[in-house]
């Protein structure tokens, strides 16, 4: 499941973020009649075709795997969290319909109607991400039911959707999708610019991608800060693991980097900033921040990966912000060509955005362990009892690796091949 989820998460994120790029680039084409934007939109719709197909099948797989791998979780939680999943189903329906119209309707719809069809894709993509993340938020802060000896009773599906963690987590994850889609696309075009400085499309593609990425990243850091403060109140044990806070402290210092040692309960080689954790978590330099020692050991996540992933996420996120600022200033928001070093940094930003996103996901998943739904159901009690689990696991991993390789190879070829065939008449007629 982890493999499928990590795989799906990448494609889902691009599937959520990428349509926004299409909305912008096709809108720019309609406004400026600059055929570079038209060709970019056509190229990107091929990218969308591949990504959406893979995103859709990996999503189908996940909906099955919920049952195949976590039958007990679904038996207990299905009735509580099924409704947001169903809402996601409808959002995905709308997205699939308009993706079909968009991808195959270039010659069947007027340019304006075609452009309008990109909006439902972007909106329902964001909504489906929101609904799915609402489920994940529920796993972090379960709500909308009463725990009657391990059975969920008095279910209130609406309260389950609007659980405490939902607003921040939904915004944080949706923005992550825009950050990733923006920087990943920017990286591809920055790379093209470095290799072929004369390429006419790379500059335009880079600009559109960075408009999305550079808008999303500062918002993301703000929301990230709010999430951490949220955790301080609602998921203190996760915050303690994230910050490698073994001991309860007042005032608490912020541990930056370092390697937590679970046996000695200390973090080595870390940079420590006095008062900062108390300030960040509670806006009060003398506030008490509970450490892992404040909780029973059987409820404790492993702080080593959680802390490392958390610092990786914050670190790469900050680097992305710096790169975005550098881009905005030195290219005047994309109106001038980026310099060589900026282009190199932008190439790196694609990888950084990927790392930031996956690390963030690891934080929320590993930080919740040993629970699958916090305080309600433990992961080990939720997993399937079906036999030959590891054969299926290796089989799916190999299958996904194979598909990912093929997909990456095809996507890279699309980029190199950006001079797609557009019917000559189409541009002259304003199509």
């Amino acid at each position: 499941m982890g493999t499928s989820l990590a795989f799906h998460y990448i494609f889902a994120a691009i599937g959520v973020g990428f349509p926004m790029l299409l909305v912008i680039v096709e809108g720019l084409w309609l406004r400026t009649k600059d055929e570079r934007y038209y060709r970019l939109a056509r190229t990107w719709s091929r990218v969308l075709l591949l990504l959406f197909a893979i995103g859709a099948v990996s999503g189908t797989t996940l909906s099955f795997e919920l049952g195949l791998l976590w039958p007990e979780f679904m038996r207990h939680a299905g009735a509580v969290i099924g409704v947001p999943f169903s809402a996601e189903g409808f959002a995905f329906f709308i997205e699939a319909i308009f993706v079909g119209i968009y991808l195959y309707g270039w010659d069947r719809l007027s340019p304006l109607a075609h452009w309008l069809c990109s909006f439902p894709i972007a909106i329902s993509g964001a909504l489906s991400a929101a609904f799915v993340t609402a489920v994940n938020a529920w796993m972090n802060t379960p709500a909308g039911f009463r725990n009657d000896h391990g059975r969920a009773v008095d279910i209130d599906p609406v309260a389950a959707i609007f659980n405490p963690a939902m607003p921040t987590e939904v915004i944080h994850t949706t923005l992550a999708a825009y950050v990733f889609a923006g920087f990943a696309t920017a990286a591809v075009y920055a790379f093209t610019l470095l290799r072929e400085p004369a390429n006419r499309y790379a500059g335009a593609g880079l600009r559109v991608a960075m408009l999305v990425g550079a808008t999303a990243i500062p918002l993301q850091l703000v929301v990230g800060d709010i999430s951490a403060r949220f955790d301080a109140h609602y998921e203190p044990i996760k915050l303690a693991a994230m910050e490698a806070q073994f001991h309860t402290e007042a005032p608490a210092e912020l541990t930056v980097g370092g390697i937590p040692d679970d046996t000695t309960r200390e973090t080595h080689w870390a940079l420590r900033v006095p008062y900062l954790l108390s300030i960040l978590a509670f806006e009060n330099p003398h506030a008490t921040v509970r450490g892992l020692d404040a909780f029973p050991e059987r409820d404790e996540p492993n702080p080593v990966p959680v802390h490392l992933c958390f610092d990786t996420m914050v670190g790469t996120g900050s680097l992305l912000l710096a790169i975005a600022a550098w881009w905005a200033i030195s290219t005047r928001i994309g109106t001038k060509r980026p310099g060589t070093w900026l282009a190199r940094a932008l190439v790196a930003s694609g990888g950084l955005a990927f790392v930031a996103m996956e690390a963030g996901w690891m934080v929320t998943e590993l930080g919740r362990q040993p629970w699958i739904a916090h305080g309600f159901l433990r992961t080990k009690d939720a997993v399937t009892t079906a036999p030959s689990l590891d054969i299926a696991f290796y089989g799916f991993t190999i299958l996904y690796l194979f598909l990912a390789t093929t997909l990456a190879w095809l996507l890279l070829r699309i980029r190199t091949d950006e001079d797609i065939q557009v019917p000559a008449g189409a541009i002259a007629e304003g199509r």
Binding site: T61, F64, M74, V83, S86, I97, D156, T406
Partner: protein, 324 residues
């Protein structure tokens, strides 16, 4: 709500979703079957028409499946858990088929100018299109026999039956996609598929009579007979419509036939979701969840239906003129 228990209403929504998936998803799978079986002088054109017909709609058609799964785990969670454990192996095969099929279809469309790759992905697409409905069928068959015996003779017959049904629906739909000689190819294929389907249906009934008498008895109950007899009659209607080149009527007939098969089976199972173990009422989630789901389905449906109409309006309004 509407004087019916909520779980009965949800079960109705489920029937609609299953029927739509069987028709549209089935047509997609069947398209893959005919892609593998493409033959004769117009082999390439047949494959091109299949690709043309499936392209804009296949993702949408497969969302019905996701919707069914979600419905099952939201509204009947214990049944979902039991089915997932009991049918773990065939469902895994279904999944592998769905993954490979979707990926192969998308990959193939991007490598058309290569030498060998389109053929390779075409084969993957076709074989996966046979594997998925076959194992779906064995799941249904295994569920019907009891104890999730998906390798029992009856279940294997249902697997074959499912593949034939997909092929029949697809061939009939494809006759409405194109004019000219290629249409004749699909017309012939539609008639052959219907005959094969009838033979496999007889085989399934026979295997039920011999190896699973309780299934045979359930299928002969007064509640399931109308569906089964309608399906048999419509099989003849489909062949007749194709014979007289009434393609649109054939399309309607094949849809009703599919629904009738499902209703016949559904009625033979009622009131059990998992025979002998769980009824719909026993498996149902609490009424709050069912109500929320129904409200959501109404709102979602209000958005979904016009969108679907637009999709089919844009792409399925007229058959392609094909010089062939």
């Amino acid at each position: 709500m509407f004087g019916m228990p909520a779980e009965a209403l949800v079960a109705c929504v489920a029937v609609v979703a299953i029927a739509l998936y069987a028709i549209f998803g089935g047509a997609d799978f069947g398209g893959g079957v005919w892609d593998v079986l493409a033959s004769g002088p117009r082999r390439a054109q047949q494959q091109e028409i299949i690709g043309h017909a499936i392209g804009p709609v296949w993702e949408t058609n497969h969302v019905w499946l996701i919707f069914m799964i979600v419905l099952l785990f939201t509204c009947f969670p214990p049944a979902f858990a039991a089915l997932s454990i009991g049918l773990y192996t065939p469902l895994t095969f279904v999944l592998v088929g769905i993954i490979l099929r979707g990926a192969a279809y998308a990959f193939r469309s991007q490598v058309y100018h290569e030498a060998r790759l389109p053929q390779f992905w075409g084969h993957v697409f076709g074989i996966a299109s046979i594997v998925s409905p076959f194992f779906f069928g064995t799941c249904v068959g295994g569920l019907t026999v009891g104890n999730f015996a998906w390798t029992s003779p009856f279940a294997l017959c249902v697997g074959l039956l499912a593949v034939a049904l997909c092929a029949q629906v697809a061939a009939v739909f494809l006759t409405c996609e194109v004019r000219g000689p290629v249409r004749q190819d699909f017309r012939t294929r539609g008639m052959i598929a219907t005959v094969v389907l009838a033979a496999l249906g007889a085989l399934a009934l026979g295997s039920a009579a011999l190896t699973a008498p309780h299934v045979f008895a359930a299928l002969r109950q007064p509640q399931s007979l109308p569906g089964i007899l309608t399906a048999m009659t419509l099989g003849f209607v489909v062949v007749a419509c194709l014979w007289f080149r009434r393609y649109n009527f054939a399309r309607i007939a094949v849809c009703i036939e599919t629904v009738a098969i499902l209703l016949g089976w559904y009625a033979s199972q009622a009131p059990y979701l998992i025979p002998g173990e769980l009824t719909y009422a026993q498996a149902a989630a609490p009424p709050e969840t069912l109500r929320a789901f129904l409200v959501l389905s109404m709102c979602g449906g209000a958005l979904l239906i016009p969108s679907l109409w637009l999709l089919f309006r844009v792409f399925k309004n007229a058959p392609l003129e094909y010089p062939g």
